[in-house]
């Protein structure tokens, strides 16, 4: 009798758990579902239920220079920042995992710091930094609002992701393979290229993907750093939404959701996302 009761309470608990979990999942996805729905509305005013459905808002995107330019700038920034981030981040992770030296922990924390500093603080700090840099160079170079200034900020955002994920995959890497290669006469660069890099590739790919997405989606910091008349895609979306919501901005949002979803699916083929986040 008691046993039957105990099993019932476990069954009940399981049901309560699954219901709560499903509700939380729906809550997380609700805004994405509703914005996708809106992008297919026939009429411009976002009143529910829609008068009909159409794809015309997607056709209109390519004609909107603000969003096309924003998308291009965001992609350019993301790709360049990720390339630079990998170029400096992978060696840094190698150093942190291979060498023991005083201050190693501090350096590790320093490289992860840009992830901890709130976006608005990062933005204000870089803004005043650029102001000071312009004063120091006598105003000969336009730094504030320049693409280079914006890019340097995005590199900062990428580095922690690369360092963190490459470090994680280095931790599971068997070092005796490298020693074997060197015993067989390979020099350091060959060893890195032929042995280490293939071994840590999942971490590098994950680092690149997360770095790119962090740069691509960055809003708060970029707000302070974009020059007049230029915007990244997230800023273009924010500024449009401050004015109004309609199916055309929803279509742009869906394009961004699809782009990022695809990037995640591609990365998942290299490294299981559930193991790196």
């Amino acid at each position: 009798m008691r046993g039957a009761l105990a099993i019932d309470s476990r069954k009940l608990g399981r049901w309560a758990l699954l219901t709560a979990a499903t509700l939380a999942m729906l809550y997380i996805l609700a805004p994405l579902i509703s914005v996708t729905w809106l992008s297919f509305y026939e009429q411009e005013i976002p009143s529910f239920p829609p008068e009909g459905y159409s794809l015309r808002w997607y056709k209109l995107i390519t004609g909107n220079a603000r969003f096309v330019d924003g998308l291009l700038l965001s992609v350019q920034l993301g790709v360049s920042a990720t390339a630079i981030g990998l170029f400096v981040g992978v060696p840094a992770a190698l150093c942190l995992s291979r060498f023991r030296f005083p201050g190693r922990e501090t350096l590790n924390n320093l490289l992860l710091l840009p992830l901890m500093v709130p976006g608005v603080v990062l933005g204000t700090a870089l803004y005043v930094f650029h102001v000071e840099a312009e004063i120091a160079t006598g105003g000969r170079f336009a730094i504030l609002g320049s693409t280079l200034g914006l890019l340097s900020g995005h590199v900062l955002v990428v580095i922690p992701w690369v360092v963190r994920l490459v470090l994680a995959s280095l931790a599971g890497f068997d070092r005796t393979l490298e020693e074997a290669a060197q015993n067989l006469g390979a020099d350091r660069w060959t060893t890195f290229r032929r042995i280490t890099l293939p071994g840590i590739l999942p971490g590098v790919v994950a680092g690149a993907m997360f770095g790119f997405v962090a740069s691509f989606g960055n809003l708060e910091m970029s707000l302070f750093l974009v020059g007049p008349g230029r915007t990244t895609l997230p800023i273009a979306i924010l500024q449009y939404l401050e004015w109004k919501i309609d199916p055309s901005i929803a279509a742009v949002s869906v394009v961004q959701i699809v782009l990022i979803g695809t990037a995640m699916l591609v990365t998942d083929r290299f490294v299981k996302i559930s193991r790196v986040v």
């Binding site: 999942m25 005013i45 009143s47 901890m116 976006g119 930094f129 900062l156 989606g217 299981k272």
Partner: protein
């Protein structure tokens, strides 16, 4: 002789490796130190400058901006609203996030990876896009109001946009994935056998959760609370879009002040935001640790 030669080689190698270590980590360290630490120091220096309306900023060493913030009812109101919203969102994220994190950690389906990706995707599409989704739902002719009016629950549409409630709902959705992912990884590291042990000793699910799971998951719970609290304090896009121009939180205040050209005050508010977040986080971490240390 042979020993001396080996020593000489190893010393040389150590010198060489020190050099290569520096070459490997140098560039990244330089970028972060020069690109982040120096700007933060300059930002702090700016916050001690004086703002003179027509001259913009005048070099000074004064805590005027900080005094202004903490003596003005408007700014204090913004401050307490921000702390309140961040706290409500953090508690809600913990309550809503735990069941989902537990289900994801213990599920045996082949679709686990897809389910995790569904949690991660919204996190990456950006806050503005997610705010757009809530705007679709919350509008006076939006989906929720259409449902309420359609079922005859209300006669006139309920004002949901530009309210504190809308901002809270939006921030919870933004922060929930972070909480879920943090909790999920810590629950996965807890051996399932301890749960079975509790059940076989006669515990019902509630007692198993409260007496076994909760204490074991505590490090992850603290980490999740800290992370979501920081994100809640610093939310920008959600309060701007769902709260409207009248609803003010700290991050939009910083941006507004910088845009107005009041750099010293903007810098000071930025610093107050960063320090408060850090201090409250440390207090939360310490008190939770103390309470559950056995």
């Amino acid at each position: 002789m042979a020993t001396a030669a080996t020593t000489a080689v190893s010393v040389e190698e150590r010198g060489g490796s020190r050099l290569s270590a520096a070459a490997l980590i140098g560039p990244a360290t330089f970028i972060v130190a020069a690109g982040l630490l120096i700007p933060i120091v300059i930002l702090f220096r700016y916050s001690l400058n004086k703002f003179v309306p027509r001259l913009m900023m005048v070099d000074a060493l004064t805590i005027e901006s900080y005094v202004k913030f903490f003596t003005d009812a408007f700014y204090l109101g913004v401050f307490f609203t921000t702390v309140k919203v961040a706290m409500i969102c953090t508690i809600a994220c913990l309550i809503m996030g735990f069941p989902l994190a537990y289900a994801l950690a213990r599920t045996r389906t082949r679709y686990k990876n897809i389910l995790i990706m569904l949690v991660v995707l919204p996190l990456f599409v950006g806050n503005a896009v997610r705010a757009a989704g809530w705007m679709t739902l919350f509008g006076s002719k939006g989906m929720i109001n259409a449902g309420l009016v359609g079922f005859g629950l209300v006669d006139v549409p309920v004002q949901m946009m530009f309210t504190e409630g809308a901002v809270i709902v939006g921030i919870i959705a933004v922060n929930l994935p972070f909480m879920v992912l943090t909790l999920q990884s810590v629950i996965e590291s807890i051996d399932r056998a301890v749960e079975e042990a509790a059940f076989s000793l006669g515990a019902d699910p509630w007692h198993m959760f409260w007496r076994v799971l909760w204490p074991l998951a505590l490090p992850g719970i603290v980490a999740g609370i800290i992370l979501t609290f920081i994100l809640g304090m610093n939310a920008y896009a959600t309060p701007v879009l769902l709260g409207g121009p009248e609803f003010k939180m700290m991050a939009p205040l910083v941006f507004g002040q910088m845009q107005l050209g009041n750099w010293p005050f903007g810098a000071a508010v930025s610093f107050i935001l960063m320090t408060t977040t850090l201090v409250l986080t440390v207090i939360a971490g310490l008190s939770l640790h103390k309470r559950y240390r056995r």
